[in-house]
Subunit: 144 residues, 2 copies
DNA sequence: CGGAATCCAGAAGGATACTG
DNA sequence: CAGTATCCTTCTGGATTCCG
């Protein structure tokens, strides 16, 4: 599948520096230091997917979003939203009323990502029964 | 954006039992005890996405897959593959040669999931530059 | 209301060694 | 080759408290 020998040098990196994030922009999700891989991990994180899916339905205020995403704590929702904002997937708008309100909504890029996640989520929801059965089968056949 | 008041009762759940995994199959990724949400987390995990993407390219043997997914340890790849197999997304086939070989390939469901992940990955790869810039902007404006 | 700060248990994850 | 086992470190994530 992948050509070349097993050595580390087969990756094509000239220098010995494996951990320094080079200046050139690598665009390959399989590469360690690729912003697309990092963003993929941010979105794919435990709460990232659900936050994006929820915002795909429209704008939400913090606590409304917290209720929509069942089980998320304030801290994790807050952290997740910051990360997604940093990646340019959503925008945080402070509405200076008293008490203050904060609206979260997707950017154009975020909308496109959320749309794809929706397709993925639909796929899983449609297969929920299959997955449950596969798990049950796996667990029983393994106990034997 | 979401109708209804802000109370917790707005979720429509009748009983107080929020943590007992009921017998009936819930099909809503936002619900805590939904197998589709769980599977979504399995796939979305750090190595799950990359493993699925790689296998979307075709079958891989363990170490070939390990080389394809840059940075994964033996332990985590092994664990990830077990989880994905349990969800019915891939199959593990032992070829009894000496030394033994093990081929991993996607199930029909896995193929469909991988195809969607590919679309998502392409989206991120195409936006890698935007994301990098968004991050840089966010980080600098935050330091000020 | 919308967080940030702190504490803490448990899970994730890496390195290494060993097995079939 | 394809893992498993062990140890150890880091990170995740929940509960709680406090602030503007």
């Amino acid at each position: 599948m992948n050509s070349g020998p097993d050595t580390d040098a087969a990756r094509g990196e000239p220098g010995p520096a494996l951990d320094e994030p080079s200046d050139e922009l690598v665009v390959d999700v399989f590469a360690r230091h690729c912003s697309s891989r990092a963003a993929l991990e941010d979105v794919g994180s435990k709460w990232g997917i659900l936050a994006m899916l929820a915002l795909g339905e429209g704008s939400y205020r913090f606590n409304a979003l917290r209720r929509r995403v069942e089980g998320v704590s304030e801290k994790m929702l807050s952290r997740t939203l910051q990360i997604l904002e940093r990646d340019g997937l959503l925008v945080r708008e402070v509405i200076s009323t008293i008490p203050a309100r904060v609206e979260y909504s997707l950017t154009p890029l975020g909308e496109r990502v959320a749309a794809q996640l929706r397709v993925l989520a639909d796929l899983f929801e449609a297969s929920a029964a299959d997955i449950s059965r596969a798990r049950a089968d796996f667990d029983t056949s393994r106990r034997a």
